[in-house]
């Protein structure tokens, strides 16, 4: 594997993406809203905690459904503190995965389908890169950007959560082990899911917008996780997110194994 070639593809794709407003704006805005504004909104506007129909006033029944380990973790806190911590640490956790998923899929759509649309792919196909290097370079650029954005979002969220909840909780309570697993194990896998879906989608898509719209359904599993937590069907815990990450990595591997055939020169050039 020629790392210089991989890094050249990464550099090229990221520089090109950085010039595309329709890609850059959502990549910046969504994390800023989700991780910068939402913690303050949750704490300063009590009525805003209404996920799944629960408000701060009637969240007690939801808290009563928590598994023993979560109940023990929240035991030292009063109801108001529990509510804030439960919302910011657990209920919002699945939303975090939207970031790596969105960033990886939007960048992959631009660098694969978008490059074909801009008619710049052919020049790349005539370089001495192997098919594998080409695929890995394309994946790496989107994956690195997604993981970096998720990590930056996590840092922002860590600061904002503790600042926003300071008046209520009076202590630094974030991040916990579950979130560290989310950031370093699950988020990279979620980024991989966005990529692998986009590799498949880009084989059929006519251009960037087409690919991005076709790949949009990839966020559905994340919304199911959010809904599942809000309704008390399931609750994120360290063990669960470890398993979730493992599942995502396996799905990634399967999709990439299946999708790599669409990323051979032969297949790519036939669609130019």
């Amino acid at each position: 594997m020629n790392w210089r070639v991989l890094m050249a593809i990464v550099k090229k794709d990221l520089k090109v993406v950085a010039q595309n407003r329709s890609v850059v704006i959502p990549i910046l805005m969504v994390p800023l809203i989700l991780f910068g504004a939402l913690p303050w909104l949750a704490v300063l506007v009590p009525g805003s905690i209404n996920m799944g129909g629960s408000t701060m006033n009637d969240i007690a029944p939801l808290l009563a459904k928590l598994p023993a380990n979560l109940t023990a973790e929240l035991a030292p806190y009063n109801l108001e503190q529990k509510t804030v911590i439960f919302f910011l640490v657990y209920l919002l956790a699945p939303m975090f995965l939207i970031i790596p998923l969105m960033v990886s899929s939007v960048i992959a759509a631009d660098s694969i389908a978008g490059e074909r649309e801009r008619r710049t792919l052919e020049a790349l196909l005539y370089t001495p890169t192997s098919d594998r290097e080409l695929l890995l370079g394309k994946l790496l650029s989107a994956w690195l950007a997604a993981v970096a954005t998720a990590a930056a979002g996590f840092l922002l969220y860590s600061v904002m959560v503790n600042l926003a909840a300071w008046q209520v909780v009076g202590a630094v309570f974030f991040p916990n082990m579950m979130w560290l697993v989310m950031v370093f194990w699950v988020a990279p896998a979620a980024a991989g899911l966005g990529l692998s879906v986009m590799v498949l989608v880009s084989a059929r898509a006519q251009g960037f917008q087409d690919a991005y719209q076709m790949g949009g359904m990839v966020v559905l599993p994340i919304l199911l996780l959010v809904f599942g937590q809000a309704t008390g069907v399931m609750f994120f815990s360290t063990g669960l997110v470890v398993l979730l990450g493992l599942g995502l990595w396996l799905v990634d591997a399967g999709l990439l194994w299946y999708g790599r055939r669409f990323f051979r020169r032969e297949a790519l050039v036939s669609r130019l």
Binding site: R4, A8, I9, K12, L125, T127, P128, T129, S130, E266
Partner: protein, 314 residues
Amino acid sequence: MEAVIQLKNVSRRFGEVQAVRDLTLEVYRGEIFGFLGHNGAGKTTTIRLVNGVLEADQGKIRVLGFDPQTQGPQLRARTGVITETASMDNRLTALDNLTIYADLYGVPRAEVKTRVSGLLAQFELAERANDRVAAFSTGMRQRLAFARALLHQPEILFLDEPTSGLDPMAARQVHSLVTHLAREEKRTVFICTHNLVEAQRLCDRVAVMEHGQLVAVGSPHELASRYVRRLMVNLETDPAQRESALEILAAAGALVDGQPELANGGLRFAAAGREAIPQTLSLLVNKGIRVYHLSAEEPDLEDVYFALHAGKEQ
């Protein structure tokens, strides 16, 4: 002569379309080789096949001794391709386009800066190095595409319709460059074009493709001799004998093809082959016509192309 590109009985099909059919061809080191044919004749597919971007359904290909299907990366490190559309990243600057491709082509790190700045200067783009390509004219993009294709000093340069969309001045620059690359730098240049004037002017040899099949290959002169028998001849006689000469030519039978005509103060007729010219001259002189001047127009690739395209010799 060393053959740097060899194709033997190569075929490639896309669904129902036979893009290349049983193509056998050799291109020699240092020559400018023209690959002619109308749209859909199989020219671009052939470039993709010989660079290992597409795989042949059957047949054998060797380029610089490499098998493109199994040694594509090694081969592409020694070839350069300029596609029909310049295929430049419009969102990047000229400098970025070249620097990134220098890495992709494996240009030694220590030489990247020198080569990039040298090529930007050679193609008169140094002052625009930090401008985005989106702001460039078609001619500037084409020059940048040449610079990019030459970054790794390829032994063979493939040009797919290199002057398509260029104004005459820019096209002339491309012609000069191609000649320089072949004659001074001893690179092999393989040009796909349907511009017959360009091919006539630049190419040492040409191949004519039709519906994926090779229908002729040789130097423009050889092809003209082989496929175009009909030569246009301009004749100047004693003005008083012009009508008589016209009658003699009209009755010359197998020597003259079609009807002779009065033109530009003289006569103009189509000789049915090179040997018909001295025979026609003898005929006229023997009939007492005083001939002051006779000149034959050499057929060009356009005549060859249409002779082949018509599927018969003229």
